[in-house]
Structure formats: structure tokens, C-alpha cells
């Protein structure tokens, strides 16, 4: 490393320092959540500033954008994804203290582990080397396993954690095997080198086909795509609710970053061989996710299956991108990731708010009469669910519209039709929660709970972004287009 590398990796260094600072504060004032949360939020602000600063340096040509001899790159895509990760972690930190505090779980460690996971996700976004990509992936998912089992005396939490861990590391091993083959065949770990080697080779050798099959399987596990989704419902249902919110968006957007770097960038020259597979995975994933979600009576489990369905919609964007030289599919994927992050985190935050009193389950009955009991919370949940359904004028509407448009423009209207049909099925189970909130009488009289200021601020931000992206999608579409262009061959 030389000093010229420093401005490029400044956001990563800042993220790691923030995590260490949170632990340091916790050692000075053990068990107190306020100082740790304050350090985490201020620190995340600094990380965001560092990301924008680095981006400006690269844009104006003051820094090269490449560090460590080409292993790490800052381009518009890395900046875009980094900012998404910071927003996700900041919201998750805001949603945590209410739920964790009521259960005597350590808030400082929660924040620190989240920031470590974020540093891994940021490293994925900027990695231009297969080995860096793998290490970054592990850096993102290992904290995720810990977070899933955060309530270590709770049987459900540890059960979710062990299923998440076993299948997560199983898929990491499969992905690593695929990476080893890609490296052995192309002779380089650099992503641009892999792309160049594959572009000059003729056809796909058996070893390359094996490597690609292993990579697809590994990534499908990470994305929770059908038929590699079995860990998802248990891991999501068992985890503490704020953690579930994070797991359903953070590692998911991280996996999207892997697909962008690994498949679109490194394996781009052989896209005709993997795109049909992604198209089939997309349709299977959204259909099965939605059909199983319909029969769920637990809202956390239902949202877990709904997140599988959203993976399917996102995969459509990947499946169609190469037929369309303008990269509309990738723009749609990047836009969807942001819209999905805010609306899904918001929905899980409402569930977490209801579960502030320990012992409250996430069954549908918990939501009965919520519209009258806590009108504001009911209204917010309705907003997030409408957005997840894809009803205008919310963020979810434009996200789905962009995906469908990209499919139609790329000459794959069947995929667009599949998304539309699935959105109709999804409307049923999302709106059922709304029916429970406004048209069912609660059994007994649930005690009123007061919500913390941090949770209110977080919910306000998630709701504001969900509406704002829905009313003014222009700036985000522009940002996503710029980010997507940095992947397209010039």
C-alpha cells in the first residue's frame, strides 16, 4: 500500500474505525446504549462523507480510482452501493435499541457488528479481484451469522442462526470452488483480466462450465433464490426482528453487488451461457416465494417469503440486461435495491415496534385492530405494504415498473408478464395484513407501548424515502443509470 491508495480506501478505513470506536466506547461505559448509538450514527455520517469525498476525487481526476495495484476500485457503482449500505446500516441501528433494550440485549455490540458487516459489503462493492471479493463476502456474512443468533438465550434465535450459518458457509464453499476454477482457467484473479481472458477464448470449456455452475449455485444461495432458499424463512423468523430487517436487505444488496461484479463484469463475455439460467431462476423464485407467502400466518415469515419473491423480480433485471445495450436492466436492478431497502426495512421496523414488549409474537393476530390502537403505526405499515405491492405513488411502483419496462425493451415480455402476474398474487397477502389492521377486533386488550425517539426518526426516514422516491424517481434513476454505465463495456 502506498499513500496514494489512501484516499481510495478512506471510506473503508473510516467504517472499520467506527466499528472499533463503538467497541471502545462500550468498554469505557459498559452496557450503556446511548453513547454507542451516538458514536455509531455520527461515525456512519463520517463514512458517508468519506464516500462522497472519495467519489469527488475520482470524478475530478485527482485520484486514480484504483488501489492496491488494481485489487480495489472506486467507480460510480461502488459509490452508489456504498451509500446504500450506509443508509441500510444507519436505519438498522436506529431500529435496534427499542427492541434490544426491552430484552436486555447489548446494543453497542449490535451496532459494532452491523458496521463490520457494512465494511464487508462496501469491500464487495469496490472489489475488482476475485480473492478480495471472496474475503469481502465472508466479512459481510460472518457478522450476519452472529447477528442472527444475537439473542443467545432464545431458542428460536439460535436455531435461525445455526441454519443460516450452516447453509451460508456451505454456499461459501461452493462459491469458492467456482472461483478457484475461474482462476485456474483464466490464470488471473483480477476481474478485468478474467473478462479479457474469457473474451479472447472461444466457447465454454467443460471446466469453465463447471466453474460457472458452482458460482451460480453459490450466488443463488446468497441471494435466497429458489431452489436454494430453504434457510431463509427460519433464519428470518428466528432472528431478532431488527436483525431480520437488516438480513433481508443488507446481505441481499451485497449479493446483488456480487452478481454485478462477478457475473456482469467478470463473466460478461460469456453472458449467453448464464443468462437463461438466471431467467429461469427469476421466474421460479418469484412464483414460489409468492405462492408460499400466501399461506403464512406469521408476518415475519410472510415477509421472508416476500423477500424471496423480490429476489425474483431483481433477477429479471439481470436476466435481460445484455439484450439491451443501454443497460436498462442494470439500472432497474440498482433502483429496485434502494426502493426495496427502504420499504422492507420500514415494514420490519413496524413489526419490531409492535414486539417491543417481550413475548409479543409476529403472528397476524398481533396486527388486529392496529389501525385504531396506534393509528400512525398502522398508517406506516399500510404505506410500506402498498409499496411492497407496487402501488403508485410509492417507491415500489417505480421499481417494479422499471423492471417490467426493461424486460419488455429487451424483447423478453414473458418475464415482464411473470412479474405482473406475481405482483397480483403478492397483493393478496400484503393487503391481508392491512385488512387485519383496520377490520379485525383485537383479542383482549393489548397494553399500549411507547416507542423510542430513535425508532420514530428511523420510521420517518424510511417512510419519507418510500414516498419521495415514488413521487420524484428522477434523481435516483439518474444515479442508478450512472452507476450501471460503469459496468457496461465502452
Amino acid at each position: 500500500m502506498t499513500w496514494t491508495d489512501f484516499p481510495i480506501i478512506a471510506p473503508l478505513v473510516a467504517a472499520l474505525l467506527v466499528a472499533v470506536a463503538i467497541i471502545g466506547v462500550d468498554m469505557i461505559a459498559p452496557g450503556r446504549s446511548r453513547p454507542a448509538i451516538a458514536v455509531a450514527l455520527v461515525g456512519l455520517g463520517i463514512v458517508a462523507i468519506a464516500i462522497v469525498w472519495t467519489d469527488q476525487l475520482v470524478r475530478t481526476g485527482q485520484a486514480s480510482g484504483v488501489a492496491f495495484g488494481g485489487a480495489y476500485t472506486v467507480d460510480p457503482l461502488a459509490t452508489y452501493l456504498d451509500l446504500v449500505f450506509v443508509a441500510i446500516v444507519a436505519l438498522t441501528v436506529l431500529f435496534g435499541p427499542d427492541y434490544l433494550g426491552a430484552r436486555d440485549l447489548p446494543v453497542a455490540e449490535y451496532a459494532a457488528v452491523l458496521v463490520f458487516a457494512m465494511s464487508g459489503a462496501m469491500l464487495i462493492a469496490g472489489s475488482s479481484d476475485l480473492l478480495v471479493l471472496f474475503v469481502a463476502l465472508e466479512l459481510m456474512v460472518l457478522p450476519g451469522y452472529l447477528l442472527a443468533g444475537f439473542a443467545k438465550h432464545d431458542a428460536l434465535s439460535t436455531e435461525g442462526a445455526i441454519k443460516y450459518f450452516l447453509l451460508g458457509s456451505f454456499s461459501s464453499a461452493i462459491l469458492l470452488f467456482g472461483l478457484a476454477y475461474i482462476w485456474g482457467i483464466t490464470g488471473t484473479t483480477r476481474i478485468d483480466g478474467v473478462a479479457a481472458a474469457l473474451a479472447s477464448a472461444h466457447g465454454v470449456s467443460p471446466a469453465l462450465a463447471l466453474g460457472m455452475a458452482l458460482l451460480t449455485t453459490g450466488v443463488a444461495f446468497k441471494l435466497a433464490a429458489v431452489p436454494f432458499h430453504y434457510w431463509t424463512p427460519d433464519a428470518y423468523q428466528g432472528s431478532p426482528t431488527p436483525v431480520t430487517g437488516f438480513l433481508s436487505v443488507g446481505p441481499k444488496v451485497g449479493a446483488i453487488a456480487i452478481v454485478l461484479r462477478l457475473f456482469v463484469e467478470a463473466l460478461g463475455p460469456v453472458h449467453v451461457d448464464w443468462m437463461p439460467v438466471l431467467a429461469v431462476l427469476a421466474v421460479l423464485t418469484m412464483t414460489l416465494g409468492n405462492l408460499v407467502a400466501v399461506s403464512q400466518t406469521n408476518v415475519k415469515r410472510m415477509l421472508a417469503y416476500s423477500s424471496i419473491a423480490h429476489t425474483g423480480y431483481i433477477l429479471v433485471g439481470f436476466a435481460v440486461y445484455a439484450n439491451d445495450p443501454s443497460g436498462e436492466g442494470l439500472t432497474a436492478v440498482l433502483f429496485y435495491a434502494v426502493a426495496y431497502a427502504f420499504m422492507n426495512l420500514g415494514a420490519f421496523a413496524v413489526v419490531a415496534a409492535l414486539q417491543k414488549r417481550p413475548g409479543v409474537t409476529s403472528q397476524l393476530d398481533t396486527f388486529a385492530g392496529l389501525g385504531r390502537r396506534e393509528p400512525l403505526l398502522g398508517l406506516l405499515m399500510t404505506l410500506f405494504l402498498l409499496s411492497l405491492t407496487g402501488i403508485p405513488p410509492t417507491a415500489g411502483f417505480f421499481a417494479k415498473a422499471l423492471i417490467i419496462l426493461s424486460a419488455v425493451q429487451a424483447g423478453a415480455p414473458i418475464l415482464g408478464l411473470a412479474v405482473v402476474l406475481n405482483a397480483i398474487v403478492a397483493a393478496f397477502y400484503y393487503l391481508r395484513v392491512v385488512v387485519y389492521m383496520y377490520m379485525r377486533e383485537p383479542q383482549g386488550e393489548p397494553a399500549a407501548v411507547s416507542h423510542g425517539a430513535l425508532l420514530r426518526v428511523g420510521l420517518a426516514i424510511a417512510a419519507a424515502m418510500t414516498i419521495l422516491i415514488g413521487l420524484l424517481p428522477g434523481p435516483l434513476i439518474d444515479a442508478a443509470t450512472t452507476a450501471a454505465r460503469s459496468l457496461l463495456p465502452v
Binding site: L146, G149, I162, S169, P233
Partner: protein, 103 residues
């Protein structure tokens, strides 16, 4: 075929397959963890075989293998911690008895 790249690749693919089968067939969480380790070590053998037989990859192979070993160690640490946590709650290491959420 002896002492060729293909022989080593087949050997490591077989080790990987044994690990995969073990992971899918075993019920004990510790055994499943060991099977994952076997899979990762099969990958390491693949990497080192590439390095040993392709001169251009020689320098990179040992570095990559070392990093993979370090990552696998970190993974095993987290895994054992989670296994201990669930053992304290359930008093069994058998994964098919972890069915509290099955509907």
C-alpha cells in the same frame, strides 16, 4: 495420468463431493461443520494443484491458499460459537431436532 493436473483436480473434486454428501446426509451440527471444512480444504487442494502444474499461477497459489485457510478458520470460530449457543438451549447437537419453527 498419474502426477498430472487432471489427477489432482479429480481427487479434489471427489473430496469436495464427499464433503457435500456428508453435509447433506449428516444430522450432527459438528459433523456438518467438519464436512464444510472438508469442502474448503478440497478447494485449497484445487488451488495448490493449479499452482503446482501451471507455472504462471505458481506465485499466487500459496497466497490464495493461505488466505482461504485464514477465512475458513474465522468461519469455524463463528460456527462453533453458534453450535455451543444452541447446545445450551436445546441440549442436543442434532439439527433435525431444531424444528421449533416448522409449520
Amino acid at each position: 495420468m498419474a502426477n498430472s493436473l487432471d489427477a489432482y483436480l479429480i481427487l479434489s473434486a471427489m473430496l469436495f463431493a464427499i464433503g457435500t454428501f456428508g453435509f447433506l446426509a449428516r444430522r450432527n451440527a459438528i459433523s456438518m461443520l467438519m464436512c464444510i471444512e472438508l469442502m474448503v480444504n478440497a478447494v485449497n487442494l484445487t488451488i495448490l494443484a493449479f499452482g503446482a502444474f501451471i507455472p504462471a499461477l505458481k506465485d499466487h497459489a500459496s497466497v490464495i491458499a493461505l488466505i482461504v485457510i485464514a477465512v475458513a478458520a474465522a468461519e469455524a470460530t463463528v460456527g462453533l460459537a453458534i453450535v455451543i449457543a444452541i447446545y445450551r438451549n436445546r441440549r442436543t447437537p442434532l439439527v433435525d431436532e431444531y424444528d421449533a419453527m416448522r409449520q
